[in-house]
Symmetry: C2
Subunit: 234 residues, 2 copies
Amino acid sequence: MDNAIILMSGGLDSTTVLSFAKKNGYNITGLSFDYGQRHRRELESSKKIADFYGIQRIVFKIDLRQIGGSSLTGDEAVEIGKLERKEIPNTYVPGRNILFLSIAAAYSELLDARTIMMGVNSVDYSGYPDCRPNFISSMEQSLQHGLDRSDLKIMAPLQYLNKGEIITMGIKNNAPYELTYSCYNGREKACGRCDSCLLRLRGFMDAGEIDPTPYETYPDFYIDYLRNLKKYKK
Amino acid sequence: MDNAIILMSGGLDSTTVLSFAKKNGYNITGLSFDYGQRHRRELESSKKIADFYGIQRIVFKIDLRQIGGSSLTGDEAVEIGKLERKEIPNTYVPGRNILFLSIAAAYSELLDARTIMMGVNSVDYSGYPDCRPNFISSMEQSLQHGLDRSDLKIMAPLQYLNKGEIITMGIKNNAPYELTYSCYNGREKACGRCDSCLLRLRGFMDAGEIDPTPYETYPDFYIDYLRNLKKYKK
């Protein structure tokens, strides 16, 4: 059985990756980061998800507030999501995936894991350059050189899927989406307004599924979707 | 004036790089890591060296003891240096430079720096794969992709110099070698026995210079060298 390290944010994408890895028989260690994020709810979620799957989970502490420059760790208000936005959103921690992969690589030595898996996605994503395929393949090569391990692989099984396809995959694999948390605001219920909530709800709509997560409010498109679904079911 | 971030370990190589950058007119921010190293002396040294040059210095805290697997952060004894050794020494923190460069990259965004400089060297080095040119050039590309900044450069001005040539460069640039600290053991005086001390002393010998650092003991080759130097000077 191959050892794999999976970057676990406690969100929908990384949980789908976990369900994929489980189905494919990997021996999994989850790696979560306590980086001073505002939405610490995601750490609780990743713990619940690790418990659900009965896998080992590491929480690596690294205080990215030392660097600053992002509303995900700072005090700046989170932007209200606009799905069509082109510029890089202010929730960006510069090169966060570069860092997370570096740490995963160090653990891969210790845990004798040849595979690092992560839930990056270049279709329904927020425009972060460190989610793009050219970054992932370049970083894989850098880790191979930097650790002198030509067999090390970064797998990004969601890379070319849209959110609806990701959710379809996860539901087929029985991913525990009710335990996941995607909202940027980190309150008890997901806000239903931020970029991450909007992408998630649109994904469930596209997949023809219902998001089990409780929301403070729903965007109009999702309310319409639920109404139509109800009609259809009648 | 170009902004540059220089990885500062407080050792001889990074101080030589600093002297090079100063000479070439960069606006420098030093970046040191408080990573749970045993030889915390290097943090004191990097502070003194930053003060000497009057540059801004950032100390980023990241506890690599969380990962373990290395005598530089753990409790395992440091190996006695053997210059001819081929295998990777046990002072290796897996992929430390990958991590350090990732953090420097994040700061490069914040500080609007296009250049990251570091003192890696592939001639007189300890065999770490994350010091080799193929890693450095691959990592430069990864950072460019991951930050979407095609102008970001990793400069490694010592890459192809041997230790003697590095020291010759530093002395030409008036590098304050008396403030540097290279020993793996971190005691008041350098041990004169570990890999790092042996490389350093051989470098001073090759450069025809005298190391201003106080040592607990000197290896035979350096004692012979000092004796011959004395003879010569008579």
